[in-house]
C-alpha cells in the first residue's frame, strides 16, 4: 500500500510542476534576446557615463572636479582650462580640457552623478565595454560626450548678451 501512495504522490507532484511549465509556455516571453535584439533598460540603469551638453551644444561640465572628488575608486581624471571668447567650450568660465573615466576601476556607484552641480555627468545605458586590452577602458572626453544637437558647431561662438540672472 505505501508503495502505491508513493507513486500517486509523485505523479501529482509532477503534474503540478508541469502545469506551471505549460502555463508559462503559453505566456509571452520576458527573456531579452540580447545580443540578437537590443537589451531593455530601466530608466535609471547606471551604465557608461555620458557628458551632457546644453541646448546650445556647449558642454555642461565646468571642470569643478566635484565628481572626481566624490568618486570612491578615484577613476575620474580632469584637466581644467579657461574658456575664451573665441573658443568657448562650456557654459561656465572653465571647461574640462581632459576628462577621463577609467572603467577598469569604475564601480558604477553613481556618486559622480550625484555630486555634479551642473548635471553634466550622467549615467547612460551603455554596458558593452569588455575588452582584451585594459588601456582601451580609459574613456576620454570625446568618447563620453553626448552628440551635438542638430545645427550646433564646435567650438561654439556665442552671442554674448548681458546676463541678467547672475552667473
Amino acid at each position: 500500500m505505501p508503495k502505491i501512495n508513493e507513486i500517486i504522490g509523485s505523479a501529482a507532484a509532477i503534474a503540478k510542476g508541469m502545469s506551471v511549465t505549460f502555463r508559462e509556455m503559453l505566456n509571452p516571453s520576458i527573456t531579452d534576446l540580447y545580443p540578437d535584439a537590443p537589451p531593455l533598460f530601466e530608466e535609471r540603469y547606471r551604465g557608461v557615463h555620458v557628458l551632457q551638453r546644453d541646448e546650445n551644444g556647449m558642454e555642461k561640465c565646468v571642470a569643478c572636479f566635484l565628481c572626481s572628488a566624490a568618486c570612491p575608486s578615484e577613476c575620474i581624471y580632469i584637466e581644467a582650462a579657461e574658456n575664451t571668447d573665441p573658443k568657448r567650450i562650456s557654459g561656465g568660465e572653465r571647461y574640462a580640457s581632459v576628462y577621463n573615466i577609467d572603467y577598469n576601476r569604475c564601480i558604477f556607484c553613481g556618486y559622480c552623478v550625484e555630486a555634479c552641480p551642473t548635471d553634466a555627468i550622467t549615467h547612460g545605458h551603455g554596458f558593452e565595454i569588455a575588452s582584451y586590452n585594459t588601456a582601451t577602458l580609459i574613456y576620454r572626453k570625446e568618447q563620453l560626450l553626448a552628440p551635438l544637437p542638430p545645427g550646433a558647431q564646435v567650438p561654439l561662438v556665442v552671442n554674448e548678451e548681458p546676463v541678467g540672472a547672475g552667473h
Partner: protein, 702 residues
Amino acid sequence: MAELVTLTIDGAQVQAEKGALLIDVCKARGIEIPAFCYYEGLALQAACRMCLVEVEKMPKLQPGCTLPVAEGMVVKTDTPVIHEARKSMLEFLLANHPLDCPVCDKGGECELQDMTFRYGLGESRFLENKHHVDEQQWSPVVFFDRPRCILCYRCVRICDEGVGVDALGVVQRGVVSAIAPSHGDHLECDECGMCIDICPVGALTSGMYRYKTRPWEMNHVGTICTHCSNGCKTTLGVRGGQVIRANNRDHSGINGEFLCVKGRFGWDFVNSTERAQSPMLRTNGRLEPVSWSRALMTVARKLNEVKQRGGRVGFIASNHTSNEENYYLQKLARQGLRSNNIDHHRTGDVVTLIDALAGRTDALATVADLYAAKASLVIASDLAQQQPLLHFQLRANWRHHRSRTYVVTPGPVRERKFAVKSLHAEPGRELDAVESLRDDLSKEPELVILFGDAIQGDAVRRLVAFGDSLGIPVKYVCLLDYSNSRGAIDMGLAPGLLPGYRPVAEAGLEPGMTIAEMLADASLDVLWVVGANPLRNARLAAENAFVVVNEMFLAETAQRADVIFPAASAYEKEGTVTNVCGEVQSLKKALKVMGAKTDLEIFGLVAAEMGIDLGPFQPGAVFEEIRREVRGYNVSLPVIATGGAAQSVPLNGRVPALTRAELIQSARDTLFTSGTLGRYSKNLTSVLEHPGKLYASGIETP
C-alpha cells in the same frame, strides 16, 4: 605682567589680560567666534558683523572683534539670538553673491563657503535677479570679481598696513561701494599677491592659478623659496609633475603669511620649456645631446687626466645650491682634486663680520629678532627691493610695537616712511653718517644693524667697533643676495676657507684662485661652473679650457660649455639651505623634472666615475657629516625636520684673514628680478613693474 580681569564666557570663568579683544580671548579658549573682517595683526574694521555676541547689560549684540574684555563681563557666544544673527548676516552677504562655487578658484578653501556650511540658513529669501559685474584683470597676477567681494577690507588693510604699498582702496559708498586698484583700471604695486591670499572669498584671485585645478587636487609641498636670501617658506601646489601655485598655506615658517612676488609667482621656471633636459657634449664645435653615462665619463676622464699631469682645475659654485651640494663640491675639489680654486659670487662680507664677532654667540640676529627688536639701523640697502621679508618684519615691528628704525642710504628707500631718522650718505661715507647717529642710538635699549655690500672689509670691523662702543646689546645682519648665499660661504666655497670658516692651511692646502683670477688665468685646464653665470659679463681667458656646466638653462656660460649637465632646481631636491640670518631650513622635493639630476647626484656620480671615495651622496648622510664637521652647524634635527628654522652660530673663533682681494658685490636685484633664474620666469617678467618696463621708466616705488 599685564593686569588680569575675570569674565564669564558661556558660563565659564575666564581670566584674561585687560584690554584684550574678546575674539582673541575666546579663540585661546577654543571657542570659535566666526569672523570675516577681523584679521590678527591688522587694524580693526568691524565691517562684517559676523562676530556678534551677547553681553549682559548691553542692549544690543556686540561685535566680538572690537570688544575689549573687562572685569565682570558676562558673555554668551552660543544662543538662539546669535544663531539667528549669524544666519541673517550670511543671508545678507549672499544676497548678491553669485555662488558660482563650481567655477570659483576659491572653492574648497573659501571662508564664506565654510561659514555658510556651518552657520548659514541653507536657503535664501531673495528671489531677485543678481546684479552681474564682469570680472576685471588688474595685473597679470591679480583678478577681481566684484560680486564675490564681501567688503571685509582685508585686502585694503594688508596692502596699506602690511606691505606698505597702499595700492587698493574703496570707491563709492553704501551698497555700491567697491574695492578698486590704485591706478584707474590696473595695479601698480609690488605684485606680491598678499591680497589674493588674505581675501576670504574668491573676489581676488591669482592670474597664475586661474582655473587650473582645485585645492584638493594638488599635493602641497612646503619648501623654501629659491630666490632671495630671506628664506621664506613657500608651499608649492603640485599636480601631475607641474607646479601650479605657491603660497604659504599654513602660515608656518619664519615668514608667516608673507611672500613677495618671487616666492608666490616666480616658480614657473621649473616647468619652462627652455629647461635643459639632457646632458650635452660639444662635438665638432656643436653641443649635442648625449647620454648621462657618456657625459659623466667624459668629465671624469678629463678630470683624472688633468689631475695626473698636475693641471689647473677651477670651480665656480652657486648661490642657490643646497648646503649638502656645496659641502660635497668643496670635498670633490679639495679632497678629490687637491685644488683650492673654488669660489662663488660673493654678495656680502659675512667673513669679516664673523671674524669681528669672534667669541660671541648672540650677536647674529634672526628674522624673528627684526620683529621684536626695539630699534634697528639699516645701512646702504634698499630692503623693500632686495630683502622683502626683512622689510616686512621691520615694518610689522613698527606697526605693532612702534619700534624705532634708522636708515642710512644713498637714495630714497621705503623704510624712510616709518624711520625715526633717515640720513643720506654718499657711497663710501656711510659710516660717517652712522657716527652722527651715535647719540640717538646709544639711548636705545637694543639695536639690530643690517648692512649691505657697501660695508665690507675694514668698514665691517669699524662698524662692529661702533656697535660695541654704544654700550647696548647689538645684533647684526650682513645682507646677501640669494637663497643660499650664506650656505655657500658657510660651506667653504671660497679659495681661502674650509667649511665653518676654517683656514685652508688646516687641510694642508694653499689658498686658491678667486672667480676673477680663474677667469683671467690663461693656463686653466678645466673650469666647472655650477649654477652660476660668470660669463654673462666677463670673458674666459683660457681659450682651450674644458668647461663643464651644471645648469637648468642654456644661458651665456652654458653656451661656452664643453659638457652640460642638466641640473635640478631647489624645488626638485631634498637638502638644507641657510638664509641671510644664518637660519638653516630644509628643502622638500616637490616634483621631478625629466632628465635633470640634482647637483649632489652629479658630483657623486662624477666622483664615483673618477674612482674617488667621498662618501655617500644622499642629502641626509651629507647633512649628518655637516652637523659633525662644520662649525656652528650642529643644529637641532627635529626643528629642521619639522619644517622649522634653526640658526647656525659659527661665532666661536677667529677667521683667518683672506689674503687675496676678493670682489664682494651685490647683484642689485630688484623685487622683480632674480639673477639669471628670474629671466626664465614668465610670471615675473610679465608684470608691468619688471625692469625695462615700469620700473626702469623711473617710477619710484612708494
